[in-house]
Amino acid sequence: MTAVQQEIPAFTLPEVLADRATHYCPGCHHGIAHRLVAECLTELGLVEKTVSVSAIGCSVFIYNYLMVDTVEAPHGRAPAVATGVKRARPEAFVYTYQGDGDLASIGLSEILHAANRGERFSVIFVNNTVYGMTGGQMAPTTLIGQKTTTCPGGRCRDREGMPLKVTEIIANFDAVGYAARGSLDTVKNILQAKKMVRKAFESQIKGAGFGFVELLATCPTNWRMTPLKANARVAEEMIPYFPLGVYKDVVDAAGVC
C-alpha cells in the first residue's frame, strides 16, 4: 500500500496583499514590511474595517499592494490626515506607513503631536537612514559618517547633529500605548517585527493609545551596496545605534486615560 504524499502550502500570502511584482529595488525591505502589515490585518480581522493613509516616499505606491481603503497624504502629514480619518470614522481601523524622511523630517511635528494626543491609530515607520525615492539624500536618521548625496563627506555631528532616535522619543509620551523598534534583516527579526506590528495594531483595537513600530530596513540602491551587503549593514551599523526592542507597552494593562 502506498501512502499518498500530500503536500500543503507552507507559506501563503494574505488575500489583501496584491499577488504581483513590486516596484521596489532588489533587496529593499518594503515588500517584507507590507506583507507583515497584510498578515496582521488579516489575522486580527481588520481588513474590511481599514482606512489607511499612505505617505510620500518609495512606499507612496503601497496602495497598489495593500488593497484597503486608502487616502494619500502630503509629505509628512500622514499623522494629521490619519487623525482626521479616525476622528471622522472612529469605528475604522486606521494606520499610516511612513519612511524616515516623511516621518522624522518634514512630518516630525505631526507625528509627535498625534502621539502626544494619543490618537487611536497605528504607525508603521520604515527607517532606512536615507531619502530613497528622491535619490539618496540625507535623512534625520542618517548615521554619523554615512555618505549621502547631500552630505557627501559623511554626516557630521557638528554640522548636521546626531541621527534622531524616533522610537525612544515617542515612547516617552504618556498617551502612547505601544512603541517598539524591530528590523527585517533576519528571519528571527522578521518574526519579532511581526509581533511588534501586531501589538501596535492591538494598541488601537484595545484602546490602549497610540501604537508605533519602527522597522529598520535597507536601501541598497542609495547606500550603493549590493542587497546582501546592505542587509548586513542593518546588523553591523544600524542596530548598534538604533537598538531593537519594546520601548513602551501598556497594551494589555488598563487603557491609558
Binding site: E48, E72, R77, R87, F93, E110, H113
Partner: protein, 355 residues
C-alpha cells in the same frame, strides 16, 4: 443632524460661521488660534463636542488642514478656519484636496498682509482664494459673505457645494465680519443626507472593492486625463456664480465690491442715490465662479465700472476681464492697514461718475 431650534440671536460673524457649520451637520472641526478668527475654535471647543462632534486644536494650520483632508476623505462634513498667514500654510493641503476631489471647507477671515501684516481687515487674499494659493491648475468655489446672516447661510451653502462638486470650498470673510455683532436668524436645513458620499467616501471596504483617494497620477496620460476632468468640473461650476445687484438698472456707474467693502460701498451708493446720482452696486457673493456674465451684460448696456477693494488691486482684474472689449474698470483701493468708512468712497465714486 442638528435639533437646534430656529432662533434669532445677536452674535459675532465668527460665531455665525461656527453655528452655520453645525446647522449644516458638520461634526468635525480642526483649527488653530490666529487673530481675528479665534472665536471660531473657541466657540466650537464646547459646541462641537456638545453636538457629538470632534474638535481638535491642531498643532499648526498645516496639521489642521491635513486633518480636514482626512475627514473629508471619509465623506464627512468637516471644516477648518484661519486668517491670511495661516491660510498660506494650508495651501499645500488645499491643493491636495482639490487634486483628490475632497469636499473640505476652509474659512479665511482675511487680515492685513503681506507677512504678519496686522490684525485688522483686508481683502488682500482675493488672489490666493480665487487664483489658487496652492500649486497646480485647480479652483475653489469661493463664497464672500458681507453680513453675519450671510456668514451663517453661506456656511450651509459651502458644505452643499463642496459635496455637490466634490471640491474644496473657501468662505472668504474678513476681520470686520468676524468681529462684528449682528442679529442672525438661525435655521436648520431639512435636506441633509448622511449618505451623500456613500459612493466614494472611505469607510472600510466591507462588501465592496477598496477605494483610493489620491492626487498622484504617474502613468502615461493619467494626469492629463485627470486635469481635463477637473477642468470640466470647474466649467460646470460656473452656474453657481451669484451677485447682489443694487440700483444697477439705470446706473451710469456701477461700483463693484465684495464682502464687508461691498456692504460699506452699498451705504455710500445709497447716499449718493438719494442725492440724485445714478450709481449702482454689484456685490459678488461668489468670487469663484465670478459673476462675469452679469457684469458683461451691464457693460453691454453702456455702463462704466469702479471696483473698490481693501487691497492694492486684485478683483479689479477680474472685472476688467469680464467687461473687456466693452468697457473698463477703474480702481479705488483702501490700503490694508487703513479702515474704510462710507465717506471714504463718496469722492472716488463721484470722480469716476464725472469722468
Amino acid at each position: 443632524m442638528s435639533d437646534r431650534k430656529t432662533e434669532k440671536i445677536f452674535i459675532k460673524g465668527n460665531e455665525a460661521i461656527a453655528q452655520g457649520a453645525l446647522a449644516a451637520g458638520c461634526r468635525c472641526y480642526f483649527g488653530y488660534p490666529i487673530t481675528p478668527q479665534n472665536d471660531i475654535p473657541e466657540y466650537l471647543s464646547k459646541a462641537m463636542p456638545d453636538a457629538g462632534g470632534e474638535f481638535i486644536q491642531a498643532e499648526s494650520e498645516v496639521a489642521a488642514a491635513n486633518m480636514l483632508l482626512g475627514a473629508a476623505a471619509c465623506g464627512k462634513r468637516a471644516f477648518t478656519s484661519s486668517s491670511s498667514p495661516g491660510v498660506s500654510l494650508m495651501q499645500e493641503a488645499i491643493s491636495y484636496m482639490a487634486g483628490s476631489e475632497l469636499p473640505g471647507v476652509i474659512v479665511n477671515m482675511n487680515r492685513g498682509g503681506p507677512g504678519l501684516g496686522d490684525i485688522g481687515p483686508a481683502q488682500g487674499d482675493y488672489f490666493q482664494s480665487t487664483k489658487g494659493g496652492g500649486h497646480g491648475d485647480y479652483r475653489l468655489l469661493v463664497l464672500a459673505p458681507a453680513t453675519c446672516q450671510e456668514a451663517f447661510d453661506m456656511m450651509i451653502e459651502a458644505f452643499d457645494l463642496a459635496f455637490k462638486y466634490r471640491n474644496p470650498v473657501m468662505v472668504h470673510g474678513d476681520a470686520i465680519l468676524g468681529q462684528m455683532k449682528e442679529p442672525v436668524q438661525t435655521w436648520t436645513p431639512q435636506n441633509l443626507d448622511p449618505n451623500e458620499a456613500a459612493d466614494w467616501g472611505l469607510s472600510g471596504a466591507i462588501g465592496r472593492p477598496s477605494r483610493l483617494l489620491k492626487s498622484l497620477f504617474l502613468e502615461d496620460g493619467a494626469l492629463a486625463g485627470h486635469n481635463r476632468k477637473l477642468q470640466a468640473k470647474y466649467k460646470a461650476m460656473q452656474v453657481e456664480a451669484r451677485a447682489e445687484c443694487f440700483e444697477t438698472a439705470d446706473a451710469d456707474l456701477v461700483v463693484v465690491a465684495f464682502g464687508s467693502i461691498g456692504r460699506i460701498a452699498k451705504t455710500a451708493v445709497r447716499k449718493l442715490r438719494s442725492q440724485g446720482h445714478k450709481v449702482g452696486l454689484v456685490r459678488p457673493q461668489t468670487l469663484y465662479p465670478y459673476p462675469s456674465a452679469l457684469l458683461r451684460e451691464l457693460a453691454a448696456q453702456g455702463k462704466r465700472f469702479l471696483t473698490i477693494e481693501h487691497n492694492c488691486g486684485q478683483m479689479v482684474e477680474d472685472v476688467q476681464l469680464a467687461v473687456r472689449g466693452l468697457a473698463d474698470s477703474e480702481f479705488f483701493g483702501i490700503m490694508p492697514g487703513d479702515l474704510p468708512t462710507p465717506d471714504d468712497f463718496e469722492q472716488p465714486i463721484l470722480d469716476s461718475l464725472r469722468r
